[in-house]
């Protein structure tokens, strides 16, 4: 077994390289141009040399610049994420199944198929780098202008930088050296200072960011009672904020990268904020006296003391209502039965115990994040797909999905036997 163990220590770039077969060995039909024309594989490239940090196998030479970058993984089995989701997705209609099949594990879209928020990512102001969170903020949240600055994007395929001018704005209730908004083509985007600038006390942080005003408490989980895995909503957010703003201003910032919430008794809040450019991130209050959040990109940990933490936990428990748990991301799975210019239909009959229980979902192509899959011929009628989406499905109107963001091909197996391919 020593050789087997030793091979477990081969270097990581070699493992990554082996995630896809060498180009020379792959049939060329996998590459499709934006117009649907089939192209050759393009110039061969050493994937390991061309690696980029977050998707090392996704680079391509300049001559193939018009091509979409995609990776089709070999046969895979989908783990428990979907297994859990399918329970809530099917509402009891679905038979037991496992998903297996090809998937676009990651895609670098051609520049013209990226949203503005995906294209333009960084901005330097007074020597500090601000990074686009990808979240938009409404004009009503803007305060005063900070000036016009260069906003930079990078075309991974053509290996070209793009620079545009963006008007930067201070936001209400947050200091500009932490967060600002930048006007791009289709709206105002939240840019976060990428430097590590923790406030020394919670009071200083509250002065910099009016957290009670800007942060929404979506729900919380209570790890300390017998209600594990249950979720609650507060009837009054002041249960948390009153104690923090009035009693905890002197709470010191703690520099402890090893701090962990596990094994502590805590309330864990899911929080969102339009102005901070965050969605479903965490804020913990622990019984042993800590406040922890990653709302500002980095860990923010403050020692608020056991008394304040206990008061918050008691208040929240007394002023909350249990809610039904929701999956982290919404998804539908089924067969594409029709594609038009404005939408495509996904029918989940194949998943149902009783075929009469099948539902057809209408996925609107009003968003580039989903329409590009159709435009690039990555999905077509007859394909079995998984579609992720945000927001609510409109069950009253054709089960319409208005904010689909991602699609991938899947295959369903029933036990060990394929029932659809």
């Amino acid at each position: 077994m020593r050789m087997v163990d030793a091979i477990g220590n081969i270097e990581e770039d070699l493992i990554l390289e082996a995630m896809i077969p060498p180009k020379a060995m792959v049939p060329q039909k996998a590459m499709v141009s934006p117009k649907g024309e089939k192209h050759g594989a393009g110039p061969s490239g050493d994937l390991s040399k061309n690696a980029v940090p977050w998707a090392p196998w996704l680079k391509w030479g300049g001559a193939a610049a018009c091509l979409i970058m995609l990776v089709i993984a070999s046969v895979i089995l989908l783990p428990s994420t979907l297994g859990k989701n399918k329970q809530s997705m099917g509402d009891g209609r679905y038979k037991s199944f496992t998903l297996q099949g090809q998937e676009y594990t990651s895609i670098i879209w051609p520049w013209e198929y990226q949203t503005i928020g995906e294209k333009y990512r960084t901005m330097i102001v007074n020597g500090m780098e601000y990074v686009n969170t990808g979240h938009k903020v409404s004009e009503t949240m803007l305060k005063s202008t900070l000036g016009t600055f260069d906003v930079t994007g990078y075309d991974e395929i053509k290996e070209e930088s793009h620079i545009i001018s963006g008007e930067a704005y201070e936001l209400n209730d947050v200091v500009a050296n932490k967060i600002c908004a930048v006007k791009l083509e289709d709206g105002y985007y939240v840019f976060r200072n990428f430097e590590y600038l923790p406030a020394g006390t919670l009071g200083e942080l509250l002065d910099q960011v009016n957290m009670p005003e800007l942060i929404s408490l979506n729900w919380f989980e209570d790890r300390g009672t017998d209600s594990n895995d249950k979720r609650f909503v507060l009837s009054d957010a002041s249960c948390l904020w009153n104690v923090l703003t009035k009693e905890c201003r002197e709470a010191r910032f703690i520099e402890d990268q090893m701090w962990m919430v596990q094994k502590r008794e805590y309330l864990g809040f899911s929080i969102s904020s339009e102005a901070l450019g965050i969605e479903n991130v965490a804020l913990y209050v622990t019984k042993d006296g800590y406040l922890w959040t990653n709302a500002f990109g980095w860990q923010s940990l403050y020692d608020i003391g056991e008394d304040a933490a206990g008061e918050i936990m008691q208040n929240c428990r007394e002023h909350s209502t249990e809610i039904e748990a929701r999956p982290f991301s919404n998804a539908v799975i089924g067969t594409i039965t029709e594609i038009t210019e404005g939408y495509f239909l996904v029918d989940d009959t194949v998943l149902c115990k009783d075929p009469n229980d099948g539902i057809t979902y209408k996925v609107l192509l009003n968003d580039l994040r989903i329409s590009r899959y159709v435009q690039m011929n990555l999905i077509k009628a007859g394909d079995m797909v998984e579609v992720l989406y945000r927001g609510q499905m409109d069950e009253e109107n054709d089960h319409a999905i208005r904010e689909a963001t991602y699609a991938s091909k899947v295959t369903i197996i029933d036990g060990e036997a394929y029932i659809f391919e």
């Binding site: 081969i10 077969p21 060995m25 783990p79």
Partner: protein, 184 residues
Amino acid sequence: MEETQIIDLYFVRDEQAIKETQAQYGRQMYATAYHILNNHEDSEECVNDAYAGLWNAIPPTRPGSLLAFACKITRNLSLKRFQYLTRKKRLAAVTTSFDELEAVLPDERFVPGASDEDIGKLISQFLRNQKEEVRYIFIRKYFFFDPIKEIAENCSITESKVKNLLFHARKELKEYLRKEGVAI
């Protein structure tokens, strides 16, 4: 979410890191475990253990590639579980790979003091000097334990061609390790 951002989540001890890892790499991790264990429940359990392993390892480790690091942890845990499970029975596909590697350098032929990490580096160096397709096939077979048939299909070559390439790669590796002083 980009990989570096997920790693940052581990560093700030945000449990969202595990959810993001699961969403992006859970499938590859599962496939890695499944090729070794060939059993859904055992594979799922190993992948869950691998998430805990990632949580405990990052920080202080900051992997160059989270995907490769996650697959490494999954592989190690799956092999341990495989050894436990195969006290009673042997699973043909994986034990064949073990036997082939054992033939390259039997356990008792390792020089004293040669660590698995050092030998891993030597094997990496050896693979870098191989053609890209040989490197791919070798790693798919002996790191991920993919079946020969699957490798052949992915590469659009015959199974016998895969076996032939593996045979020559093992032979060369054996000679390389001997020259590097790893084998007695």
